[in-house]
Amino acid sequence: MFSNASNFVNGVDSAFLIITGISVFFLVALTAAMIYFVVKYNRKKGKPAVQIKDNSLLEITWIVIPMLLVLYMFYIGWEGFLPMREVPKDAIEITAVGSMWKYEFIYPGNKSSDTLMVPLNKAVKVNLASKDVLHGFSVPGFRIKEDMVPQKNNYSWFTAGELGDFDVYCTVYCGVSHSYMNSIIRVVTPADYDKWLKALPVKKADNSLGLKVLEKNGCIACHTLDGTKSVGPTFKGLHGATIDVTTAGANRKLTVDDAYLESSITDPNKDIVTGYPPGVMKSYKGIIKDKDIKLINEYLKTLK
């Protein structure tokens, strides 16, 4: 608590402490009162119950006092939050793009990396975007969190006050590898930041139409392009390969061709590649059009 990791820690943590303090006070006082009453007025002591009339003054008191307390708590909560929406004009703008299940951070000059490198003591505005479903951008050490919503421009900002690495988690459930969607914010000195950014290569654009179709329909979330195993089989080297599949409960071998790929898109549960669970992929029948399936096939042929 009360570190200097970001400019918000102080506001959030003091709100946290005050509200927790009031809460603990009430918890202890009310529990103590309960226990005291249970002991003092226990039936075993043989005293009969005394019926007591309602006292409006007392009741009004315990309406007004909690009311004032909650209004106060609301106020400090709001005070702690307000700076999070007031981005300084000179902030460095970085765009964070979430997709199943990784972050990509895009710096000025179309350079990108998968960890967020930021300079010490400089305001950084992070524009949040998502390619497919909702994701979260949560940095517990900085006390910031904002969701990444597709086609909506959310943002968050901070000024890092300490050198070091800080965890970034995805906090909005986004599918099978949700818990593996994380990254790191690395706070470095401004000089190191400039050096690093300069060395970062400019992002290459792959303009294949087939890839566009795959990206648009979220295929790459489960099928990698680089040969690593994910939720579904990788696309690399898939076209033309011989694979083991389960068709209606029976194992068989087949060679991947255009017809197989088309049936895998329109009826994914027909032939399940051995080693993968059935039912994970939905049918894209009617969603990906025939001409787009052709584009996918053309693209997959290039992925050797």
Binding site: M34, Y41, P48, L58, F81, L134, Y169, T171, S179
Partner: protein, 536 residues
């Protein structure tokens, strides 16, 4: 036993069979008491299935990485745990079980207003439940969206989301019909002399609850229909790829689901309000304040849904508006707590299991409620939203609050429902185990939540492991306590000593009836007291 009129002979509702015999005499019953018990058996069954899934998750959380299941399985497990516990256990929970059984009795009525509709509600509850379970078994695999069904993930995943949402829709219909029945019952069926302001407070709580069920549930109904249409016909209201707005789904979802929290909590508060005066032999302190605070909670509770969405990218104006209202809704709950505790002052307190459960409820509810303040405050929400802090918070409210109130209610009313008594000593031991297990299970999650552990994580960084292990151990202790408690209750209901008609010296109407009430409850017009909590 009242035998004042010679023509009417007393037959316990448990023995009366009518047109149908045996099993059919239960599922065809229109008697509100039998329907209450039907709900109780089905809900307890679902509760233990849900608890089993909870336990599976706790075993998975014992160590980082894969422990006993794959990520996709884990996602299915927490989704089913949520759907089961929310839609099939806690939302019907108290109002369908104890509301059905005791609402007509407490207001001096023979039955609810529409007994056949009541039976129909249970039937569709069962249909919805079967659909929810079926969604797990169908060929596309269990839904993996979480019980919140957030779009656009829910409109894109390949799993059985349609079946699960249709189940929630049907269950919502059951909830609406129960609420409708209760409102009409309270308006039309009160015994002569029973006005709104000498009605016991459990019916008051049920009345407020019923309004929420009636008015909020249609919104989730239409939302789920839109989600189904989105998946079946590509009518894109929520999926941005089809032109929709995912935040709109969250708004609509929480317009229902936040008030739904009060569908769970208000009857729980109502039960506690019945139990505390009985065991203190003192009239409830501030009757009117408690009654009206139920309505106030229901009313303001409708307008605070946005506090589930502070980090979703809502406008800043909406953020402070929802935060302010959220804090205000805390006040009527606080009033209730103060009134309960003041009722103990100068009473003659009989420490029996139902009362102990009520005390445990108050303690856990204060923790659940005050951590709710941390979530309602915008600044601290940013830190703890969507972390295991939230998980701990709502388990303290739903399980520690509604769950413990449910247990308190069973221990309180079991002699009236079965005419027999359970063993007090075992009940107390079970309570202590439950209380310790519960706090061990959920309190550590507050701590790692503050440190940033996100919710719905299959895998987690190693620094959170010690607390996860403590939490899992608590889970096992809690389940052990629950099994002991249920064992004791079942044994008591089946073969416990025969209970007197008024074992706790209660003053409300149910205690004027024989140990198990007859079919139409009141064989003669009940005498309505000016003050329902008048202990002599």
């Amino acid at each position: 036993m009242s035998n004042s009129t010679e023509k009417i002979e007393y037959v316990s509702y448990l023995d009366y069979q009518g047109k149908y015999k045996g099993f059919l005499s239960w599922i065809m019953a229109t008697d509100h008491k039998r329907i209450g018990l039907l709900y109780m058996y089905s809900i307890m069954t679902f509760f233990f299935i849900g608890a089993f899934f909870g336990l599976l998750m706790k075993i998975e959380m014992l160590s980082p990485g894969e422990t006993i299941m794959k990520p996709q399985t884990y996602n299915g497990v927490f989704t089913l745990h949520g759907i089961l516990m929310i839609f099939m256990v806690v939302i019907p929970g108290l109002s369908a079980v104890f509301g059905n059984f005791f609402l007509p009795i407490l207001i001096g009525a023979k039955d609810v207003a529409f007994p056949k509709l009541n039976r129909f509600s249970w039937w569709i509850f069962i249909v919805g439940s079967i659909m929810a379970v079926a969604s797990q078994l169908l060929k596309d695999g269990p839904p993996d969206t979480g019980w919140t069904f957030y779009a656009p993930y829910s409109s894109q995943t390949g799993t059985n989301v349609i079946m699960a949402t249709a189940a929630a829709f049907v269950l919502g219909f059951s909830s609406i019909l129960t609420g409708l029945n209760f409102i009409v019952t309270i308006h039309q069926m009160r015994a002569p002399g029973m006005r709104f302001f000498n009605m016991p407070l459990f019916p008051w709580a049920l009345y407020a609850t019923a309004w929420i069920q009636l008015l909020a549930t249609p919104i989730i109904g239409i939302t789920l229909l839109m989600l189904i249409a989105e998946r079946m016909f590509q009518i894109g209201f929520f999926d941005p790829a089809l032109g929709g707005d995912p935040l709109l789904f969250q708004h609509l979802f929480w317009i229902y689901s936040h008030p739904a929290v009060y569908v769970m909590m208000l009857p729980a508060m109502g039960v506690i309000t019945e139990i505390i005066p009985t065991f203190c032999q003192r009239q409830i302190y501030g009757y009117k304040a408690v009654a009206i605070s139920s309505l106030a909670i229901a009313g303001v509770g409708f307008l605070v849904w946005g506090h589930h969405m502070y980090t979703s990218g809502m406008s800043d104006q909406a953020r402070w508006f929802f935060s302010l209202l959220t804090f205000i809704v805390a006040v009527p709950s606080a009033i209730k707590v103060f009134n309960w505790i003041t009722t103990m002052y100068n009473g003659s307190i009989d420490v029996k299991p139902p009362f102990l459960y009520a005390l445990a409820f108050i303690f856990l509810f204060i923790i659940g409620g005050t951590t709710g303040l941390l979530l309602g405050s915008v600044a601290t929400n940013v830190q703890v939203h969507d972390t295991s802090f939230v998980v701990a918070h709502f388990h303290y409210i739903i399980f520690g609050g509604m769950g413990f109130a449910f247990f308190a209610a069973i221990h309180y009313w079991l002699p009236k429902m079965y005419g027999r008594m359970y063993n007090f000593k075992i009940a107390n031991i079970a309570l202590v185990i439950n209380f310790i297990g519960f706090n061990l299970l959920y309190f550590p999650q507050f701590i790692i939540g503050v440190e940033g552990m996100p919710r719905r994580y299959f895998d987690y960084p190693a620094q959170f492991q010690p607390m996860q292990v403590i939490s899992s151990i608590g889970g096992f202790i809690l389940v052990a306590g629950l099994i002991l408690m249920v064992f004791n209750l079942v044994k008591g209901a089946k073969s416990g000593p025969v209970a007197p008609s008024n074992p706790w010296n209660g003053s409300t109407l149910e205690w004027t009836l024989p140990a198990t009430p007859s079919l139409e409850n009141f064989d003669e017009e009940p005498v309505i007291k000016e003050n329902p909590y008048d202990y002599k």
